[in-house]
């Protein structure tokens, strides 16, 4: 290149062609000035001396800015640059990049020149760049700016009738049946959300219209839906009926374990009820005299039975149907509680006290002797009952299970007596 010898204007022109691709970004107010700036970039790290000379030589007055920067020469002189200056420069670059990124929409708008301004500012900054680090930032900015420029250009080459997407959105809303409320004002044009009430089927309505422009294959589905609905319902009924028949059968046939376990549970409850009934009967006879606890529960012939009785009575107490108190002699007595005192299980009104009664075999014997208990007040089940018919109608299993339990207890008892 012959710029060294040539006049400034020649070199300007020559360079101008090189950087012709960057023309679109130039603002028209600076004729030919921009190529000059960009040439500096092209020249890059190489022939920096030349453009500077050319600029100084040019002296057309177009290059005010370049001539205003005497710092170039001094920076050239110090290849390392001033650290603070460089930091400042990087900071400025970053600020510029941030600004461009934040104000993207503004940059893209065809009405504003802000992109050009940003470019010019970058140009200014570039003149202070001497090291690769700042140059990298500059390059980053350039990529950003050129992307924006491309987008801007894209928008320019659009239609003669510009597609106005806000208007499209408004029309869509109208189509969907937006109910614009009266009295509400859209104060500014910037308001992007229209006011009003959009009905629930808005999108369906739009979709129905859109369907007509598509050749969608209809989704395959069974007309009558899936099979799930019907079978479970009759099946339940069948089950219930079967179960009823089953229980009757089971009553007739003794040898089934399942029923035995169930009746075990029932047995306890029934026992509790029975004992409660007994207690109330006894108390009816003597309403004022509470029954001695031990008289009530002890069975002189069987320790096991006694323990069972205590167990059952404890349920009655827990449920609040009866109370245990200590009388004058500090002996426990039991009496049914009256109705107004409440009988629900989950009543918190009643004060609950808990006690642990321990009764050893020896104690039991002693009590039998002391209290001279000869007969149990709670007859063992199966021996004498008032509602015999009720008992017969129950499962034989209850009987069998209790008998089994009874036998077991007898064995335990025998063992205990042997130990004692």
């Amino acid at each position: 290149m012959s710029e060294d010898a040539g006049s400034g204007s020649n070199s300007l022109q020559g360079r101008g062609l090189d950087s012709g691709c960057r023309q679109p970004f130039a603002s028209t107010s600076r004729n030919g000035a921009v190529p000059e700036h960009q040439q500096r970039r092209l020249a890059g790290g190489q022939g920096r001396q030349r453009p500077l000379e050319a600029a100084n030589e040019g002296g057309d007055g177009e290059e005010e800015e370049s001539e205003e920067e005497p710092g170039q020469g001094s920076e050239r002189a110090e290849p390392d640059g001033n650290h603070t200056d460089r930091r400042m420069l990087r900071h400025q670059y970053r600020q510029l990049i941030n600004r461009v990124q934040q104000n993207r929409e503004d940059m893209l708008s065809s009405k504003s020149n802000s992109l050009t301004d940003a470019l010019q500012e970058a140009n200014k900054l570039f003149s202070g760049v001497s090291q690769a680090r700042e140059a990298a930032l500059d390059a980053q900015f350039l990529v950003l700016a050129s992307n924006l420029g491309k987008e801007k250009a894209n928008e320019l080459h659009s239609e003669m009738t510009v597609f106005d997407s806000p208007a499209f959105a408004e029309d869509l809303l109208t189509f969907m049946g937006l109910n614009r409320l009266e009295g509400e004002e859209n104060d500014s044009d910037d308001e992007s959300i229209a006011s009003g009430f959009l009905p629930n089927n808005a999108w369906h309505k739009l979709g129905a219209e859109a369907e007509r422009y598509f050749r969608r294959s209809p989704s395959f589905h069974y007309m009558l839906g899936s099979f799930k609905a019907d079978p479970p319902v009759p099946r339940q009924r069948i089950e219930r009926q079967k179960r009823k028949a089953g229980t009757e059968e089971k009553r007739a046939m003794p040898a089934q374990l399942k029923k035995m376990e169930e009746s075990h549970q029932e047995a306890t409850e029934k026992e509790v009820e029975r004992i409660l009934g007994l207690l109330q009967t006894y108390f009816k006879d003597d309403p004022n005299i509470p029954i001695s606890f031990f008289d009530f529960v002890i069975d002189p012939s069987s320790f096991a039975r006694t323990v069972e009785n205590i167990f059952h009575v404890s349920f009655i107490i827990r449920d609040g149907f009866a109370r245990i108190k200590l009388d004058q002699d500090k002996l426990p007595v039991i009496e049914p509680s009256h109705e107004e005192e409440g009988r629900e299980n989950d009543q918190n009104a009643q004060v609950r006290n808990q006690a642990v009664i321990s009764l050893s075999h020896q104690d039991w014997k002693d009590i039998v002797e002391t209290f001279e208990i000869t007969e149990p007040m709670i007859p063992p089940p199966g021996i004498s009952q008032e509602n015999e018919s009720k008992y017969l109608s129950e499962d034989f299993f209850t009987v069998q299970s209790i008998y089994f339990f009874y036998v077991f207890e007898r064995i335990v008892e025998k063992l205990l007596t042997m130990l004692v």
């Binding site: 894209n154 597609f163 208007a167 959105a169 999108w203 979709g207 129905a208 007509r212 422009y213 294959s217």
Partner: protein
Amino acid sequence: MAQKRRGKGPGPSQGEDPAGDEDYALTQSASQVRRNLERLSPAQVDQKVSELVQYLLVKDQKKIPIKRADILKNVIKDYRGVYSEIIKRAGRTLQQVFGLQLMEIDPKHHIYILVSILPRLEVDNLKQDDCTAKLGLLTVILSFLFMKGNAAKESAVWETLRRLRVDPGVRHEVFGDVKKLVTEEFVRQKYLEYNRIPHTDPPEFEFQWGARAAKETSKMQILRFVAKIQNKDPKAWSTQYTEAAAEEAAAGGLFQDISTPGDTGGASQGARRRTR
């Protein structure tokens, strides 16, 4: 038929397809296929054809394109030798019985979709469900994309949708997770393409029409939709109109299409052979 077929002549099994030996069975010549066909009883082949038809219909429910690999694995199995014949017959059945066409939207990866070939009725569709609403949303997006030059950045799309009270950050009462719907479901169904714009950090994405959209509708159709909504003549947007007409002309003649609402009987709309 504009349906692309596999298996006629040596196929492009130059390592593009994942299953190499599967391709070998498929790339048999027509005469080889015929020979394989003779070995099987007609009942067997018919059975396979029916199975394939049912399979395609069910798979199409979710509108996710059907892969050839799945077809081979689940339906064809041992009948690979006559794959091309089975596909051909299934396609014919679908056309004649259901009015659907089996189209291959991606010749490289062999993905199929079903498209209706029956003319649309002017009557309102009775069945309106979630799919209808989603289609509405999709159409808005497709319209926006087309009118803005066939592609748009994700941010621009969301900006437009916000005006319609659809916000990606907010759970929509009809669509639920809208962002997922648009960027995942529609993309999986091949209605939209969601591509990353290079050199952007943080990464940005742009939308384009997907292959299925190109087949199920056309630029002209979408332009008409926009025109209907805005109550204008499609020709009002000259650039877009020219583009749409060009697409029609390029594809026209290959497929006689149905009349569409508002069509004044101009050029026949051809199969959407999408070229970019």
